[in-house]
């Protein structure tokens, strides 16, 4: 099972991630437990999920937009964003939109090809949980959260860009 980093600690994962089958077919709708379901499963079973007994999470693939769940965010205790390949950067935009535009405050988890060297930017974009790829050294990866002590741009963690903070600090 993948190692989970959450709140800067290596923790046990209590969620079950439901994936699509090898031919892309959707899994059965779960009956109980804390599960993260594919977006399409949520969309297909939205009404019945309203009475779901456990905690419900949803995961978006890189090609799927947060727009699809923007009106339902309060339904989810967790949203995950899949990185099909570490070089696929769409998930960074999805995360920022969820946090900044749609105001999602719950757990935002990076899943898929989640590697040591990408955690810092993921964190800046609003992810607070990282389901590392199996082969990653989680202890080493923890240090990557703090690769850079600052950044120029606006981000979820630093909504005020450096140039405004420099000015506020009176630095010429």
């Amino acid at each position: 099972m993948a190692t989970l980093i959450k709140e800067r600690r290596i923790v046990a994962d209590t969620w079950r991630l439901l994936s699509r089958g090898p031919k892309g077919e959707l899994p059965e709708a779960p009956a109980r437990g804390d599960v993260i379901v594919p977006l399409a499963l949520w969309l297909a079973n939205r009404e019945s999920f309203l009475a779901y007994p456990g905690k419900l999470g949803v995961w978006l693939d890189a090609s799927e937009g947060p727009e699809a769940i923007a009106g339902d965010l309060q339904r989810f205790a967790l949203i995950a964003v899949n990185f099909p390949k570490f070089g696929d950067g769409r998930g960074y935009s999805i995360a920022r939109l969820l946090r900044e535009r749609y105001g999602y405050r719950g757990e935002l988890r990076a899943i898929g090809d989640v590697l040591h060297d990408h955690l810092h930017f993921m964190k800046q974009c609003g992810f607070d949980a990282f389901s590392l790829r199996d082969d990653q050294d989680a202890q080493e990866a923890l240090s990557a959260l703090d690769t850079f002590s600052d950044g120029y741009q606006t981000s979820v963690l630093r909504p005020v860009p450096l140039f405004r903070r420099r000015l506020a600090a009176g630095k010429p």
């Binding site: 950067g89 850079f148 120029y152 140039f163």
Partner: protein, 571 residues
Amino acid sequence: MYVYDEIDQKLVDERVAQFRDQTRRFLAGKLSDDEFRALRLRNGLYIQRYAPMLRIAIPYGLLSTRQLRKLAHIARKFDRGYGHFSTRQNLQLNWPRLPQVPDILAELATVQMHAIQTSGNSFRNITTDHFAGVAQDEIVDSFVWCEVLRQWSTFHPEFSYLPRKFKFAVNGAKSDRAAVAVHDIGLHAVRDEKGEIGFKVLVGGGLGRTPVIGFVIREFLPWQHLLSYCEAILRVYNRYGRRDNIHKARIKILVKERGPERFREEVEAEWKHLKDGPSTLIPEEIARIESRFTRPAYLPLPATDAGLATALASDKAFANWHARNVHPHKKPGYAAVTLSLKKTGVPPGDVTAEQMERIADLADRYSFGELRVSHEQNLIFADVQLSDLHSLWGEIRALGFATPNIGLLTNIICCPGGDFCSLANAKSIPVAEAIQQRFDDLDYLHDIGEIDVNISGCMNACGHHHVGHIGILGVDKNGEEWYQIEVGGNQGEVRPGVGASLGKVIGPSFARAEIPDVIEKLIECYLARRDSDAERFIDVVHRVGVEPFKESVYGNADQRAAHRRGHLASA
């Protein structure tokens, strides 16, 4: 120079530490080739045909002599004692050893330099007019805006894994010397009727295997909105740009597939959310960045110099050089000088460590300790007193950098080509050399006048062949090196009249040995048709079309068929 503050410095230092750790993990087998590749490219490190290549960033081409001396030191200590200035105003070293690269980066950081994002699918070095800040036709000092964008585009958390590389060009003068129409985003500074600064924004231009002239997505973007608007463009690109095919992943393909109007609507819709947000630029920040640039302490000087006039009248060689390699300056009594790195027999853009040090000494003495790298792969001393020109010329002539060919046929833009680059289909440097040898008569060169000849060793187009007035492209045919000729490309409106355009292939390709003859025929065709000395090669192509040039090379239709048969027989 923009002088770092402690935060700028800290980020660069942290980058060195990050790459040191990544290299350590790679060498320890904890990072796969594929994963390390993506990380090392972000630090400019390629694995090349013979050895790694390290591309060092020279943001917007501006260098201090302290930095140049450091580059010389690095070239000597870690490499074979020379470097190659590239068309993106960067410096490439060709033989660094991987375990030493973190040390090289650490050395660079001591002089506020780095190799950040000089490759990989992220923002690349931002390029601009090499006469920024000194041009007589200046609208704004584009260095300031380049630095604003450099900071914004460095380690951008959301846009560090784009579908493909992303290149900005900024032009701050009336003439376009930055080729803004052939960049992913081109920004052309303009002033509105109230004198307020803004930018004409072009998007989706580019060279490479699908050359496109960028389209104007906004005629006037007030400067305050520069970052939020770019964020909107980049977010649309990051989310919807193609990732399934590396050759279709640049923003130009997205713009093309969507259609420019729909693309514009999507950007505008995204921008609605970002406009007037915290990324909105404020005058204090522009003033802060301006104030962190070192500025030459110009002397109040008369606009002319008697000694210079005498030297020009009495020294023909000096006058030739002055006519081509000295450029007007906005301050009276000063001029900008181009040091030509295009001497025949030397790969274009190559400089030895010793030469770097000598150049640094000269820049200290003659040009306030700073210099620029141009995208034409030459060096510029931007602030030379008119009274010093003659003695400076004597010194750089001794170094071999006074070839009076700026703007002329032998000032060839050329990629490293098959001699160095693993992507190349064909060699490019020997082609440049053969052309330079053929056109070695200076009077003839001056008579031909301004012309851009650009050579790329493959369709990735690092030698910008699509925008050469004559473009030469190396192609591979059954394992042999052939060269395709294009005519009519233009990098931008450097002179009023002819805007940016892409060259057209004139016909079947040639063997390397044939190229000087072909160029000569094209030149003769031009000379026979120009209406005066003032009408440049490119002006004639735009006036009469490509057909006469085609005919001059291949003859009429019958002769062309024979040419093709000949090639088929030999292929």
